[in-house]
């Protein structure tokens, strides 16, 4: 399904009205977003450039979950940082409800987009009580009286399934799952529209992971939240998301609906990623995915298609020209590969 027809479908659902335009607009839109860092260098020496993110364009419809997968160093976290206003894009822009983020201040941004980070052990101040941690965003924004804020903290703790007594505790007194609930409460107290989940369960044990994933799904339902869900765990991504974007060395190499990506991946890298996910099925052994394990240097990316040194399908063309992210026909994912599977 292409972007136009999906918008049409949404517009039909929303009905014709003065607000239709806003309803059909993606909640979050990334337009040719790039981030370049300079490594090393000094007063008289030029540093090397590292292109962490290159021309990433994505649109996440309201109330949907976009999964972002890729290996370490592919630029997922840099992308998240730009969305949160923690890094300034070198080029391109982020739009929330059609409005460029660059125009909004950091504070205005925080009302719309909130993060949940990977490690609940390092993302919470160990010397503050839970109530103070969760209340902080309200104080920063000068919302409510102390009493109203306390009320809102109590409601939010309840919402994420924490007992009220947790309010007076320190993060060190809580389990990993409870800490991640505190991080979720802190993200939600501003009633954001968009939540950036950066590996929210990868530091947790599987039995706790299931609780947190259930909570994230419930909250999405209840508040119509839009998630960008960054993860390396493909089973979790498949469970949670509506759409998937696969990143390799700073670029999106494939993007499509969950079904398209998981049932009919077109890019060889997506295919390798899916093949290397080890599902709990005994007797299948470990697959031979046929990739080299030499990760290219992001500050000196390979010519042409950045994946070609590891790609089992690579040909001369792949070394020379970089494929664009396209879908040749409707009903398939967009893939950046000269030899993408049909």
């Amino acid at each position: 399904m292409n972007a136009l027809s999906s918008r049409g479908a949404l517009a039909d659902q929303a009905g014709a009205g003065p607000d239709t335009d806003i309803d059909t607009m993606p909640a979050l839109e990334l337009c040719a977003l790039s981030k370049r860092y300079t490594l090393g260098g000094g007063l008289f020496k030029r540093g090397r450039a590292l292109q962490a993110v290159s021309e990433v364009s994505l649109a996440i419809p309201r109330g949907q979950v976009m999964g972002l997968v890729g290996e370490s160093g592919c630029g997922k976290s840099t992308l998240a940082k730009m969305l949160l206003g923690l890094a300034t894009p070198s080029a391109g822009e982020v739009r929330v409800d059609g409005r460029p983020l660059g125009d909004a201040g950091q504070k205005a941004l925080a009302r719309h987009i909130q993060p949940i980070f990977q490690d609940p052990y390092s993302s919470l101040n160990p010397r503050k009580r839970v109530a103070a941690i969760v209340e902080l965003p309200l104080r920063v924004h000068g919302i409510g009286t102390p009493r109203e804020r306390a009320q809102r903290v109590a409601e939010t703790l309840d919402l994420v399934g924490l007992p009220q007594r947790a309010a007076a505790q320190f993060p060190g007194q809580l389990s990993g799952g409870q800490r991640q609930r505190v991080a979720i409460a802190r993200a939600l107290i501003m009633r954001p529209d968009i939540v950036i989940c950066d590996e929210p369960t990868s530091a947790l044990d599987v039995s706790v992971q299931a609780q947190i994933l259930n909570l994230l799904l419930d909250l999405k339902q209840e508040f119509g939240l839009t998630y960008l869900f960054i993860s390396h765990d493909l089973a979790v991504v498949e469970h949670l998301v509506d759409r998937v974007a696969v990143m390799y060395l700073g670029r999106i190499v494939e993007e499509g609906s969950r079904k398209q990506i998981f049932a009919a991946p077109r890019h060889p890298y997506t295919q390798a990623l899916l093949a290397s996910a080890l599902t709990p099925e005994p007797g299948l052994g470990v697959p031979d995915i046929g990739l080299g394990d030499v990760m290219p240097d992001p500050s000196n990316p390979p010519s042409g298609c950045a994946f070609h040194p590891r790609c089992p399908k690579a040909q001369a063309l792949c070394r020379e020209s970089r494929p664009t992210l396209t879908a040749e026909t409707t009903g398939v994912s967009r893939a950046a590969c000269h030899f993408a599977s049909a």
């Binding site: 493909l234 080890l278 005994p282 470990v286």
Partner: protein, 340 residues
Amino acid sequence: MPLLDVQDLRVDLPVEAGTLHAVRGIDLSVERGEMLCLVGESGCGKSMTSLALMGLLPRRARLSAGRLDFDGESLTALSERRRGQLRGRRMAMIFQEPMTALNPAYTLGNQLCEAFLRHRLGNRRQARERAIELLERVGISAAAERLAQYPHQLSGGLRQRVMIAMALMCDPDLIIADEPTTALDVTIQAQILRLLRDLQQEMGTAVIFITHDLGVVARIADRVAVMYAGEVIETALTQALYANPSHPYTRGLLSCIPAPGKTPPGSRLQAIPGVVPSLVGEVEGCAFRNRCPLVREGEVDAARCEHTPELRRLTGDHQARCHYAEHRAATRVAQPELSP
């Protein structure tokens, strides 16, 4: 005779609040050439078990064992000197984080050859030849030049390959691998696991593979031991364990990972509510009963679970530490809860 025969292994650690019983009476046996996976969540005692087997426990830890035999020889009776002769030579270890396990100040060649030379298995030239041969075997190109490199010059996947080569240098009988692929990306993980499995079968080395990932276990293990709160709560051949998980905790673990094609996307996952009991002080009764769906739903007589269950034989090699391991209604879907 099994290569490793462990009975009633216990590890206690003194902590501020008393004694932490990190390992509470484990029985394990590993046959020659076998891949045994120890699986469990954080704090279940799997890493302490591996350190106890290697003789690498922290100094303040207290170890006791009814039996701790390696190839017919009791490890507890050995002098530290004799133990040191086994370690690296006949038992080797692969750690999770190759960057911290490799010494950044020494070349790869230096570190690869160290154990070989220390155990007097040959001279420098022979050590170097074996190192090159093994680096090539683990898929590292230009092996001879690599010997002069330092760990930081390699990627994570290559470092873990070097660790595997290093563990194999002295042709050990047993390798203990503690979460060796957890820090790696999935595509690299698949390649390293495949390599480890191939080498293990080719060289007939026994491996104790420690992990929290049931997907990895399913694909590489011959036999599995599931740990919870310092005990082995279920052990079986891999096929049998996945086909017929008999401890409620094992069943819970298997059902809380979304299974592609089985779990409908976006549906509620089964969770195991509650938390692991504190292992400081004595744990009375079944350690899982406060989280057990059988107890919570009144399917079984909870009073019986106040008594510590034994690890008992169900069929053949399949053992479980549960009074109600045969209770089949337990396969019913447990209601997930929000609050831990």
